[in-house]
């Protein structure tokens, strides 16, 4: 568990990018980045890449598809009236319901997963967060232990940080 978080804010992208390179060079692996826009092109510089989200979506889609067919078959078993000459196990019409439920369940689970993995629920904002990060500022927040905080603060200032502040880790 870290003692403090050192957070720097950058008014422009260039010094922010320079700070990311400096941190990587110094072997700092754990840090959070705040930005008003996604940083597609710089994912290599950011910690922890990838997202399991699409696997959850796939699993939920398969579940929805199986559930859709199951629902149709169960309903036709419970209310076994032949309508319009169509057999009770009419697989082609059931594909429509199965498809819709595939999309429905996959969508709902995708949303739940993004909330879970991104920790999206009503909560107090991090002490490192600055409202400028939703406008035009970029931020880096590094959890530090002991003497490391001075080194990190130095690196961030050197790269061109506008402000560097410390908060409880």
């Amino acid at each position: 568990m870290s003692d403090v978080r050192v957070t720097a804010s950058f008014p422009a992208f260039e010094p922010f990018l320079a700070a990311l390179h400096s941190l990587r060079k110094a072997g700092v692996e754990r840090f959070a980045v705040y930005s008003p826009v996604p940083l597609h092109e710089y994912e290599d510089l950011l910690p922890r890449r990838g997202s399991p989200l699409r696997w959850y979506a796939l699993a939920a889609g398969v579940l929805g598809c199986v559930g859709g067919f199951a629902l149709c078959l169960i309903a036709s078993r419970f209310y076994g009236v032949v309508v319009g000459g169509k057999p009770l196990d009419s697989w082609i019409p059931y594909c429509v319901v199965a498809f819709e439920l595939t999309v429905l369940i996959a969508g709902v689970v995708t949303m739940a997963t993004v909330f879970l993995h991104s920790r999206l629920y009503p909560r107090p904002l991090s002490s490192a967060y600055d409202p400028g990060f939703s406008v035009d500022q970029f931020g880096i927040s590094v959890p530090c232990e002991g003497e490391q905080r001075q080194t990190v603060a130095g690196l961030l200032r050197e790269a061109g940080a506008e402000t560097v502040k410390e908060s409880a880790g």
């Binding site: 996604p38 819709e100 429905l104 991104s118 904002l125």
Partner: protein, 450 residues
């Protein structure tokens, strides 16, 4: 933001500072003017009148409508199909154009997505209104019950329930997902109770790299899910008719014809709404005439598909050799619904080609008028298909010319008021254009600046 970018310049590559983009878009999220409130009050009045009419229909019975054998589906089902169609443009713009990386979509996507959500809600009301005994609507839900009644999942009407529910859910989730970073931006500017509300709605969004990563994956996932969904929903709606044996309905052309028509009307509605709204919400520097011109180009494409459908439909009837189908087609063009038929042909398949001319495409008044007329044409298209076909079926002795009653017209207009009311309220409380997407990614901003 500055004036229109140079021709050929991708819209997101403008070197506009982030703060300026931010301020330009978020200024629209404010307490509305008196005129705006007056308009909302007028729309609320329309909704109230429609609610009273619906109450009258429930108390008196379906005899207050113009429906009578053989015309069992009239204005309500016409409006249902129309509003589902309107909802298609939002998903086209937000999902399909996102997957194709079309950059101009950013300026119009949020408004179109909002339109989709409320259009599908409006559509969803009509089958319930048409039901008559609305209090037994839960019969359509699959659940164990003492009567051992289960929905017939082989029926397109049940497909419809599943498809529309799925479409509404996915559209609403997709819309909300896109809103989260923008709600956080509004939260950061707000104070007091508004800050608390936006804080709740933005669910702790801070723009962390982890959040962005999952957000982008989820957005792509939703776009991939919504793309086939948008095709399926209106195909399912078309099967409500195409699987029936009614002359004028029983056609294999219907699914693509309905999907194209839905997108055609949805895009036209985007023009009809965004042209006045960009002025009302002071977004003229964000939603540029160029963006609307791109929408107009898409309308030309869908207009071609409509023209093709309008030509192929009578051709297949003639080529098929079925006398009853031929008679139905002839009556469509010459019978009691002929004026509506020709309005439909003109507005949907002739008028859009005026957009071939750059002068027309870049004239906002002309674009607004064309958008409005296409919507009129699309409503009549559904009216002609539904009512025209039912009126003149196999037995001439049963033929009946339907006309909507004042109750049906009031409810149909009230539903339009509901749609506009919800849209206008929502676009005042959430950003009408995506803030995060309107800011170019850093490397693109650098390229543009250099």
């Amino acid at each position: 933001m500055a004036a229109n970018p140079e021709p050929g310049t991708p819209f997101a590559m403008t070197a506009t500072p982030y703060r300026e983009v931010h301020e330009d878009i978020l200024q629209a999220v404010r307490f509305p003017s008196r005129r705006y409130l007056g308009l909302l009050a007028l729309l609320a009045g329309g909704m109230g009148w429609a609610a009273l009419c619906f109450g009258y229909q429930v108390m008196t019975g379906m005899g207050v409508t113009g429906l009578n054998l053989p015309v069992g589906w009239g204005t309500y089902i016409t409006s249902f199909v129309f509003w589902v169609g309107i909802g298609h443009a939002g998903t086209l713009i937000s999902a399909i154009l996102y997957l194709l990386r079309v950059e101009w979509r950013t300026a119009v996507a949020r408004a179109a997505e909002t339109m989709t959500v409320f259009a599908v809600m409006t559509a969803g009301m009509f089958p319930l209104i048409h039901l008559g005994r609305v209090w037994v609507m839960y019969f359509i839900m699959p659940y164990p019950n003492t009567a051992h009644l289960w929905p017939n999942f082989r029926s397109p009407l049940v497909f419809d329930v599943v498809a529309i529910t799925t479409y509404l859910t996915i559209s609403a989730l997709f819309w909300y997902l896109g809103l989260i970073p923008d709600l956080a931006a509004v939260r950061d500017r707000a104070t007091g109770r508004r800050r608390w509300i936006y804080g709740l709605l933005s669910v702790g969004w801070q723009g962390e790299n982890d959040q962005w990563r999952h957000y982008l994956r989820a957005y792509a996932c939703f776009a991939a899910l919504a793309t086939p969904l948008v095709i399926s929903v209106h195909s399912v709606v078309s099967w409500d008719f195409a699987v029936g044996i009614v002359p004028g309905w029983h056609e294999t052309l219907f699914p693509p014809y309905f999907v194209a028509g839905a997108i055609h009307s949805g895009l036209a509605m985007v023009l009809t709404l965004l042209i006045p709204l960009r002025g009302v919400l002071k977004l003229k520097r964000v939603i540029l005439p160029r963006h609307l011109e791109e929408v107009a180009k898409l309308i030309v494409l869908t207009g071609f598909i409509m023209l093709y459908a309008y030509v192929v439909e009578p051709f297949m009837v003639w080529y098929g050799g079925n006398e009853i189908e031929r008679q139905s087609m002839v009556l469509r063009a010459t019978g009691p619904y002929a004026p509506y038929y020709w309005v439909m042909v003109f507005c949907n398949a002739v008028l859009p080609f005026a957009l071939f001319w750059k002068q027309v495409r870049s004239n906002l008044t002309a674009l607004f008028a064309i958008g409005l007329l296409i919507n009129v044409g699309m409503w009549f298209e559904r009216y002609v298909i539904i009512v025209g076909s039912l009126s003149n079926d196999f037995m001439p002795s049963a033929w009946f010319t339907y006309a909507p009653s004042w109750v049906e017209l009031s409810i149909a207009i009230g539903a339009g008021c509901f749609f506009l009311f919800m849209l206008l309220v929502t676009l005042r409380v959430v950003p009408a254009v995506s803030v995060a997407e309107s800011k170019p990614e850093p490397h693109r901003a650098e390229e543009a600046a250099s």
